[in-house]
């Protein structure tokens, strides 16, 4: 049973970092996509949304190609920064972040598009710089809708399986998250361990969704 707590702690750590990453990237890119007008915007939007519809194993394979030790980027990271992403929990973070990214990005873009540009213009005439306009007007008005996406993205990252397995493998105590541990237990015929892991996972997921519903009343239900 102790393995389950280790897996739970690791899962929360991975999902937490992945969500933090998505919060910054999803909100930033969502804002840029809501405001910028340039050719190829729709194509870029589709590419950024792709992780939502693509099989996680395919995403995992892309990530292996992109950040594996033999890729230019992966090689550079190992050589210059000493960072290995494959078969590490950091790799699991990247995998979970990519899979859950569209949930934050989509929510952020839609939320920023509902903010009246006139309010941003009003802020400019009052002397606020562009960064101040973002943090004082755009973000506070979009925040509630973004939060819903962020919590869903956390829930999605908690349950990540395919891409994480491809990139980080299944090393107990290091990269074996809850969902992977469930799979391994069932494969090994350890029904007791599987039952316990499944119960823990279910409770954590329900807790996340309940708190999401409490933080943003009505939003989660409407989105689903």
């Amino acid at each position: 049973m102790e393995g389950a707590w280790v897996a739970l702690a690791l899962t929360l750590k991975v999902a937490g970092w992945a969500t933090a990453l998505n919060l910054v990237l999803g909100v930033g890119i969502g804002f840029a996509m809501a405001r910028a007008r340039f050719p190829g915007r729709d194509v870029l939007d589709a590419v950024l949304t792709l992780p939502m519809v693509m099989p996680p194993t395919v995403l995992g394979y892309y990530l292996l190609v992109l950040i594996g030790s033999h890729s230019p980027l992966g090689g550079w990271l190992i050589q210059h920064l000493g960072i290995r992403l494959i078969f590490t929990w950091q790799g699991a973070v990247i995998a979970a972040a990519v899979v859950a990214f569209p949930l934050v990005f989509k929510a952020a873009r839609a939320a920023f598009e509902t903010v009246d540009p006139q309010l941003e213009d009003a802020a400019r005439t009052l002397g606020m710089g562009e960064v101040a306009v973002f943090f004082r007007v755009s973000l506070p008005l979009a925040w509630h809708a973004i939060l819903a996406g962020v919590l869903l993205s956390f829930a999605r990252a908690l349950g990540e399986f395919g891409a994480t397995l491809m990139v980080a493998g299944s090393i107990p105590g290091r990269t074996q998250t809850l969902s992977i541990a469930v799979y391994e237990s069932v494969q090994a015929g350890q029904d007791d361990a599987a039952n316990f892991l499944v119960a823990v996972t279910s409770i954590v997921c329900i807790a996340v969704l309940l708190s999401a519903g409490r933080l943003v009343p009505g939003r989660i239900a409407r989105r689903e």
Binding site: Q118, D121, T125, G127, A132
Partner: protein, 232 residues
């Protein structure tokens, strides 16, 4: 010259193309830009404030050159120091009346707190009788209170000129008359140049020292009020 404006811009919305070419010069301290909706008045005002980009031209307000495509000058909207009152007032819905008014005074990335105080903010709250609603949010205000909050917010930064986009359109008739009078008194007390755009004859009659007629993106006549009313 208080106002020396010469602005051109081509606006394309889908398949429609709108050419805006507005030029006027005036020394009137209360100037009205008059014309039907869709004539390009709001666009002109936004270009003057720097929140819409002209293709080329020149903007001089109260002796300061704010934009001049010939010399490549374009002062940012933040530094133009023009009070701009939007048609629907564009009050920040997540901030109280006091925070809205103070927002132009607070520098940095954070909004003023609900308890923020500043002599200038308090003075405007008092001048516009907003004391009882200073802690309220915009959606809790009446139309007149909204307009006064928008005016106070725009004036607190000590602007060089006051630009108003149909400031009375959202109000009922009896309130309009009173607020027009208040605006005249305010303008005379502050001695601040005022430019107002409207399609309402009454605004023209009561407020204008001079009027610029705008039709389909062009200035069609510019005269003092007496003449223009006769032309009507």
């Amino acid at each position: 010259m208080i106002w020396d404006i010469d602005l051109q811009r081509v606006l394309i919305h889908g398949h429609t193309r709108f050419e805006l070419d507005v030029a006027f010069a005036s020394d009137a301290s209360r100037l009205v830009l008059y014309g039907p909706s869709g004539a390009g008045k709001t666009q002109t005002l936004k270009m003057m404030a720097g929140i819409a980009r002209p293709d080329r031209g020149r903007t001089v307000v109260a002796g300061r050159t704010l934009y001049d495509s010939a010399s490549g000058l374009s002062v940012s909207p933040q530094e133009r120091r023009l009070a701009y009152v939007f048609q629907e007032y564009a009050l920040f819905p997540h901030l109280t009346v006091r925070q809205n008014i103070a927002s132009g005074l607070r520098r940095g990335w954070l909004n003023p707190s609900r308890a923020f105080t500043d002599p200038a903010v308090e003075r405007w709250i008092e001048a516009f009788h907003l004391g009882p609603v200073a802690g309220h949010y915009p959606h809790q205000l009446s139309g007149g209170q909204r307009q006064r909050t928008a005016l106070a917010r725009a004036l607190v930064i000590d602007p060089k000129a006051l630009l108003l986009d149909e400031p009375f359109a959202a109000l009922d008739k009896s309130l309009r008359q009173r607020l027009r009078q208040e605006l005249i008194e305010l303008q005379e007390r502050l001695r601040i140049p005022l430019l107002l755009i409207t399609h309402d004859d009454d605004d023209l009659r009561v407020l204008a020292h001079e009027v610029v007629h705008v039709r389909a993106g062009r200035v069609v006549a510019s005269a003092d009020t007496e003449e223009s009313v006769l032309v009507q």
